[in-house]
C-alpha cells in the first residue's frame, strides 16, 4: 500500500496529458503565480530533449537553471512510469542545488490518454485535456482522466470556436471521476487561475502535514462501472489495492 509522504523534501507534482493540450503553458502559469511564495523547480520530459524546457526558460517565469530537461530515449511513457530513474536523479539534483525546494513540477512528454505518472515519482498529478480536442474526450475515460488527482480542461476560451459545451464537459468529467476535482481553465479567466492555484496550494499544505498519499491512476480500467447488471456488478466490485476505501 502507498504510504503518505512527509514534507521533508519537495512536493513533486506531475503534469501529464496528450500533446498540445497546454501542459507547458500550465506549468508556466503555475510558475508565474507561485514563484513569489514557493521555491520552485521544473523537470521536462520531451520527445527531443529540451524543447519544453527552452520554451519555459524563454518565458522568463523561473530562473533558467531551475528548469531541467530529461531525455527519454523515445520512451516518454517508460520515463514517468516504469523506469523513473532519470527523473528521480533530476529531482535529487534540483533539491540539492536549490535547497530548499518546496515544489517540483514534472512535465511528462506529451503522450496519449494512457500515460500517467508512477506514484514513486510524483506525489500528486494533474491530467490536462483541452476543449479543442473535442467535447467527447472526457467520456473516453482512461486512467488519467478518471483518476488523476486533478483533471484540467484547458483553453476554455476557445470553446465557442470549436462548439464545445464547457459546463457539460465538466459535468461529464466529474461523473467519470467519481467527483474527483475538475477545473475548467483559461489563462484569460482569472477565477479559473485562482482555482488552479488554490488546488496546488492545498496539495502543498496536505503534503507538509504528512496527509498526502500518492495514488496511482493506473494503466488498468476500474472494475464495476458502467451498465453492468446487478449480478455482474456484484462480481465486479471487489476491493482495490490502489484505491483507498471511501474513495469509491
Amino acid at each position: 500500500m502507498p504510504e503518505s509522504v512527509r514534507g521533508t523534501r519537495a512536493l513533486r507534482l506531475g503534469v501529464c496529458g496528450p500533446v498540445g493540450t497546454g501542459k507547458s503553458s500550465l506549468i508556466g502559469l503555475l510558475c508565474r503565480e507561485l514563484a513569489d511564495r514557493l521555491s520552485l523547480a521544473v523537470i521536462t520530459n520531451d520527445i527531443y530533449t529540451d524543447e519544453d524546457a527552452r520554451m519555459l526558460r524563454a518565458a522568463g517565469v523561473l530562473a533558467p537553471e531551475r528548469i531541467r530537461a530529461v531525455e527519454t530515449g523515445a520512451c516518454p511513457h517508460t520515463a514517468i512510469r516504469d523506469d523513473i530513474t532519470a527523473n528521480l536523479l533530476a529531482v535529487e539534483d534540483l533539491e540539492l542545488d536549490f535547497d530548499p525546494v518546496e515544489l517540483i513540477l514534472v512535465e511528462s512528454g506529451g503522450d496519449n490518454l494512457t500515460a500517467t505518472f508512477s506514484p514513486a515519482l510524483v506525489d500528486t498529478q494533474i491530467f490536462v485535456l483541452d476543449v479543442a480536442g473535442g467535447g467527447d474526450v472526457v467520456r473516453k475515460g482512461g486512467p488519467g482522466i478518471s483518476r488523476a488527482d486533478l483533471l484540467v480542461i484547458n483553453k476554455t476560451d476557445l470553446a465557442e470556436h470549436v462548439d464545445v459545451d464547457v459546463p457539460r464537459m465538466v459535468r461529464e468529467g466529474l461523473a467519470e471521476r467519481d467527483h474527483r476535482p475538475v477545473i475548467a481553465l483559461s489563462r484569460k479567466n482569472p477565477d479559473s487561475i485562482q482555482a488552479l492555484k488554490a488546488w496546488v496550494l492545498t496539495q502543498v499544505d496536505s503534503f507538509a502535514a504528512g496527509a498526502l498519499v500518492p495514488q496511482d491512476p493506473g494503466p488498468m480500467a476500474p472494475h464495476g462501472h458502467g451498465d453492468a447488471t446487478d449480478a455482474q456488478d456484484r462480481e465486479g466490485h471487489h476491493q482495490h489495492q490502489n484505491v483507498p476505501a471511501g474513495d469509491r
Partner: protein, 233 residues
C-alpha cells in the same frame, strides 16, 4: 532471491548467474532506455546503419574495453577492502571526452542508487556513500563485488550491455527487423568473449588499456551540445 542477493559472502554459481541476468536485463531500473551507446549522433553524422555491427565491434575494441577493465580493477579493489578513487582517475584519463565522462557518471549514479537499495549493508559499497557520481564502470565494479560476480562475468556484462544498448537504440533510430538485430548481438559474442582474456584479471589501474576512439568522442561532444536529442548519450 533477495535474501541470497543480500548475503554476498560466498554466492553459489547459480546465484551469480541470476544476478548477471538481472544486471543485463533492460528492465533493470537504471535508465538504460535513455542511452544509445553513442549511436544517435553517429547516425546523425552519416554513419551507414548497415555498418552497425562494425560500429559495435569498434566500441568493444576501444571504449568498451577500457570500461570493462576499469570495472574489473574496481571490483578487485573493493574485494581487497581498498578504495577506487585512483581507478576512477585512470578511467577519466583514458576517457578524454567530457561528454562521455558525464554520460558514464549519469549512468553510474543510477547504478549507485540501485546498488544501495539492493545491498544496503554491503561493506564493499561503503565507498558509494560519499561518491555520488561514480563512473558507470566504477559503480558496476562495486556492484560485482557486492553480488559475487567474477571478473570474467563482469567483463561479459559490460560488453553485452554495450552491444545491446546500441542495437536496441538502433531499433528506435533506424528501425529494421528486430530478429535481425538479435542476430547481430549473438553474432558479436566472440568479440565480447575476446575481451575476457584481455582484461578480466587486471588489478593495476595503470594497466587499464588506453584506447581512444576519436570519432566517437567527437560525436559524443556534438551530441551533448545539440538541443534535439532522443537519447541522453
Amino acid at each position: 532471491m533477495s535474501s541470497e542477493l543480500t548475503s554476498p559472502e560466498h554466492p553459489s554459481p547459480g546465484i551469480t548467474e541470476l544476478l548477471l541476468m538481472l544486471l543485463a536485463d533492460a528492465r533493470l531500473p537504471t535508465s538504460g532506455h535513455t542511452q544509445s551507446g553513442g549511436l544517435e549522433p553517429a547516425l546523425r553524422d552519416g554513419l551507414d546503419p548497415s555498418r552497425l555491427v562494425e560500429y559495435c565491434r569498434t566500441r568493444l575494441a576501444t571504449v568498451t574495453l577500457t570500461e570493462a577493465a576499469t570495472a574489473v580493477v574496481c571490483r578487485h579493489r573493493a574485494l581487497a577492502g581498498q578504495g577506487t578513487d585512483d581507478v576512477e582517475l585512470a578511467w577519466a584519463a583514458r576517457t578524454p571526452s567530457d561528454a562521455q565522462r558525464a554520460a558514464s557518471r549519469a549512468m553510474g549514479r543510477a547504478y549507485r542508487r540501485l546498488a544501495r537499495h539492493l545491498w544496503p549493508d554491503a561493506a564493499v559499497l561503503g565507498e558509494l556513500e560519499a561518491v555520488r557520481h561514480p563512473s558507470r564502470p566504477r559503480a558496476l565494479g562495486l556492484v560485482a563485488a557486492a553480488g559475487g560476480l567474477s571478473g570474467g562475468q563482469l567483463v561479459r556484462l559490460v560488453g553485452y550491455d554495450d552491444v545491446q544498448t546500441v542495437v536496441s537504440a538502433s531499433l528506435k533510430l533506424s528501425p529494421g527487423d528486430p530478429m535481425k538485430a538479435a542476430g547481430w548481438v549473438l553474432g558479436l559474442r566472440e568479440d565480447i568473449e575476446s575481451m575476457v582474456p584481455r582484461c578480466a584479471d587486471l588489478v593495476d589501474p595503470h594497466l587499464i588499456p588506453a584506447l581512444s576512439a576519436p570519432l566517437m568522442e567527437a560525436w559524443a561532444q556534438d551530441h551533448a551540445a545539440t538541443t534535439r536529442r532522443l537519447f541522453s548519450a
